[in-house]
Symmetry: C2
Subunit: 192 residues, 2 copies
Amino acid sequence: MTLEFSKPLAAHQTPIPGVVLYDLPVHGDNRGWFKENWQREKMVALGLPDFRPVQNNISFNEKAGTTRGIHAEPWDKFISVATGRIFGAWVDLREGPSFGAVFTAELDPSQAIFIPRGVGNAFQTLEDNTAYTYLVNDHWSADAQSQYTFLNLADETAAIAWPVPLDQAELSDKDKAHPRLADVAPMPAKKI
Amino acid sequence: MTLEFSKPLAAHQTPIPGVVLYDLPVHGDNRGWFKENWQREKMVALGLPDFRPVQNNISFNEKAGTTRGIHAEPWDKFISVATGRIFGAWVDLREGPSFGAVFTAELDPSQAIFIPRGVGNAFQTLEDNTAYTYLVNDHWSADAQSQYTFLNLADETAAIAWPVPLDQAELSDKDKAHPRLADVAPMPAKKI
Ligand SMILES: Cc1cn([C@H]2C[C@H](O)[C@@H](COP(=O)(O)OP(=O)(O)O[C@H]3OC[C@@H](O)[C@H](O)[C@H]3O)O2)c(=O)[nH]c1=O
Ligand SMILES: Cc1cn([C@H]2C[C@H](O)[C@@H](COP(=O)(O)OP(=O)(O)O[C@H]3OC[C@@H](O)[C@H](O)[C@H]3O)O2)c(=O)[nH]c1=O
């Protein structure tokens, strides 16, 4: 584990509006390490919307190269890695001028990323046994999936440079069937 | 990984009032597995107090036998394992008739436990590289530690049967110095 232990909490803007990358302080000692993975007060002070999670999901990914996505959901997500490392890829699928904007980054446990509603989310694990954890501010249901917007991981316009080629990666059958960008219906802004 | 994948979400009472053990459904597939680690609506329907987390902490524990505790904190905790396995031990340190009550259980990623304010929390990892994650409903600060109540992991009255003897376990210096039960000031009920 080669975490950068000395980083102070910091927020970095990305090319996708509202997608914010965080450096998290990690406290190492003889036992391992400890981190505040999400801390409402400190992150709001750094400009994170006042996120109120109602659900925490964890996926465990056995092999390096396991790939999930690209899923734009009708709620916000605060994503990080509990152990392992990922290559993350995000594609703006919201209706509007930034539709199609792409951002990619490697994340280890000393980072986190905030993904607003409508931004497509995907990752590929860079290590075996990677545990991926995220908070969301609305409840998932099988029905809610009808409000997802999906994009194919192999989309030629987004042209994501996956470290492991997708034909050698572990994917779900569902994720192999998503449409190309030209066939994606952008996610409309939330009705208020 | 030998998770019990078929369990429906269920809540189990324990000998400590308010400490509730959860079975979590874990969905396994070719990629690994996925779980709703905490889901407000479903857990409230099963009787969990309407828990509103403001902070998510993760500790990574390198070696089996790493031991942290016993810490009773002035907020509630929803605790689980992202990867690995723990032996958990809980001791009621609240003022009142259940002071000193003990509960222990092994937890793998298909379980979670709710620990109310004032109940002492501790764990020992049963596997290397165990990632321990929890949600809390108040913000930690270095100052808030003055409101903690601590108990020594080796307390003879609680008599916790640690799988790895404490003299062979990885502990913090702080955790070696906590008092015995007779010297613990019980945590008073919250002022409203
Ligand atoms: C998202 C979600 C899924 N599930 C179940 C349904 C399946 O049995 C299993 C896995 O679900 P998938 O739809 O295959 O999810 P996955 O491809 O892993 O995508 C997830 O991780 C990547 C994220 O982009 C996405 O939010 C999330 O859906 O978990 C739940 O029970 N609750 C949930 O919140
Ligand atoms: C709890 C906490 C700790 N920290 C820092 C302080 C130290 O630099 C480092 C580790 O803190 P410790 O007090 O040594 O915590 P630890 O012994 O790991 O206990 C933690 O895990 C077991 C839990 O019982 C307990 O809630 C929690 O304090 O993390 C934070 O920055 N934020 C926090 O919320």
